[in-house]
Amino acid sequence: MSEMKPSDVAAAEDSSEEQDWNAAKTFFDSLKSNKPRPPKPRFAVSIAVSSRTLFNMVAERKIYEEEGVEKYVAFQVEHENEPLKPGPAFPFVKVGLRTSLFTHFQLAFNLSDLTIERFCMTGGKSPIGYLEAYMTNLYLSKDSDKVTEAIEAGIAAATVFMPEKESELSDTQLRVAFDGDAVLFSDESEIIVKQHGLDTFFEHEKHFENQPLAQGPLKCFLEALGKLQRKFYSKNERLNCPIRTFLVTARSAASSGARVLKTLRSWGLEIDEALFLAGAPKGPLLQKIQPHIFFDDQMFHIEGAKDLGTIAAHVPYGIGQKYHKGKLIEQPAKKE
């Protein structure tokens, strides 16, 4: 492996980002490898995944919870040469990398064939500081507390769930599905439904059709994906674009759909397919779409998606957290 020359080293010491990236490129160029070269980070989307979402670590987690951290570490060391099985975020990451879309900040160690080169092992500390420092576009974890913390810090984040069955997912096109209210958009309209009922909701949405909704926690991630998509469009590759986005909303096209589309337009964002279910269950439709990941704020929809084989990620945001299947949940006393 070639050593860094003094001039490269001097450049690397400069604190400007440009110098560091150039040094990295020099380094990567000097590697003799057949693996696809990681994309230059500034033009890629930065995703952070926790090790438990990238890999299946159910057995290990059990040890951690039942026998404590020392036993957990001992177990890991004992098995460190055995590759881990894929977890729920694996297909999303794999296809994202394969289509050279993502760079990764990845919180895991035992890696398989993925070209993930960057990782943080924070020794149990909260990763939020690091996510902010590296301008992460999306954070995926199994830990809903960390995910909530990230959302409160303004980082798009979701808790990923493993589906009950496996499904055939595309290897060449990354397909990402989003719920609308309280995911891409704020929960302002959902509050109306929960507190005043559907009829009031329809009237309200029609009345305010031309007023854009406020943004939700995953809007900036959609935006980041959109930037990548536009690069393909500019090369006349719209038909072969390796990213496809979907909106899967319980809203109905006739009564409350227009506001959603107009909001997206006002943000300058495109979504490839918008599917208005008018309250029908999302599971079957998602089964047809086969996204690598589906974001929703309501556990009810997450469960429906999971049951039919869709990898679903819960966004713990907004009024939906206080309800289950339309009924108000009794909130336990908040943990200190």
């Binding site: 050593e3 010491e13 604190s15 560091d20 990236w21 040094a23 490129k25 890696l111």
Partner: protein, 261 residues
């Protein structure tokens, strides 16, 4: 000319087993600033000293007969500060700093006095000083203004897995050896504590290499008996953001690369 004064307020450490850390007095106390009553004001290395002391305290809690402790020496070359040696000593006692002895040396004899005192790590805010002592084979690390904002409750050491962090300290085999043996002792200290609530935290960072480089560095550490608390493989990402989150008291490079030539 070197003169050494023992701090009678502090119990002297077992020189065979202690880890001698020398800190430039200029880093511990604000030069020239009078804190009133002839006591110096706190310098950037103050939290660092408190953190070193915290480790000693906790080590003794675990085992009151512990001999693997930090032995802290304040070293002064600044002739101005030497003239005010009594003020230096009284300031140290005033703050209750666990400094075992004070070393007053000329610039010429400086590295010599470090070696003679069996110093395993030298810390200073002066880049030239650090460069010189490093070249003479004394493991040295540079402190800067960020050190002042580091925690005083936990000593945080950053080991750099690829030797690009400090380009002006050319890694000689001797300094590599010094880095490894110091870190090995740090690793031993770390073992005295459990996974959480440790007063000492060791972090590995590789800046340029990919995961193999970091993985190799972790293996090297393990072979030295060091279990890293945290590990960061930056693969070219800028270091600034992560350093501001990690807030290490000092960085050590050389000797941890997994892919050694």
């Amino acid at each position: 000319m070197v003169s050494t004064v023992q701090n009678t307020d502090v119990k002297q450490k077992d020189s065979d087993h202690a880890v001698v850390v020398a800190v430039a007095s200029r880093a511990v106390f604000e030069p020239g600033a009078g804190g009133g009553d002839g006591v110096y004001a706190e310098g950037v290395a103050f939290p660092l000293l408190q953190a070193l002391q915290k480790v000693n305290e906790r080590l003794l809690e675990e085992n009151s007969a512990e001999s693997l402790l930090f032995d802290i020496v304040l070293i002064t070359t600044d002739s101005q500060q030497q003239q005010q040696s009594s003020q230096l000593i009284s300031s140290t006692k005033h703050y209750g700093l666990e400094v075992s002895r004070f070393c007053f040396s000329t610039e010429e004899d400086f590295s010599e006095s470090l070696l003679k005192n069996n110093v395993q790590l030298f810390l200073s805010t002066d880049r030239n000083e650090v460069s010189q002592t490093s070249q003479k084979g004394v493991l040295s690390a540079l402190l800067d203004e960020y050190t002042a904002s580091c925690p005083s409750e936990q000593l945080r050491v950053l080991l750099c897995g690829d030797a690009v962090i400090r380009p002006d300290t050319n890694p000689t085999p001797a300094s590599r050896q010094a880095a490894q043996s110091f870190s090995a002792r740090l690793g031993k200290m770390r073992q005295r504590f459990g996974m959480s609530d440790s007063p000492l935290s060791i972090t590995l960072m590789t800046s340029c290499g990919g995961r193999d480089s970091c993985g190799g560095a972790l293996q090297t550490l393990r072979s030295l008996g060091i279990s890293a608390d945290e590990a960061y493989c930056l693969a070219g990402a800028p270091q600034g953001p992560i350093l501001s989150v990690l807030r290490p008291h000092f960085l050590l490079s050389d000797g941890f690369s997994g892919l050694e030539d």
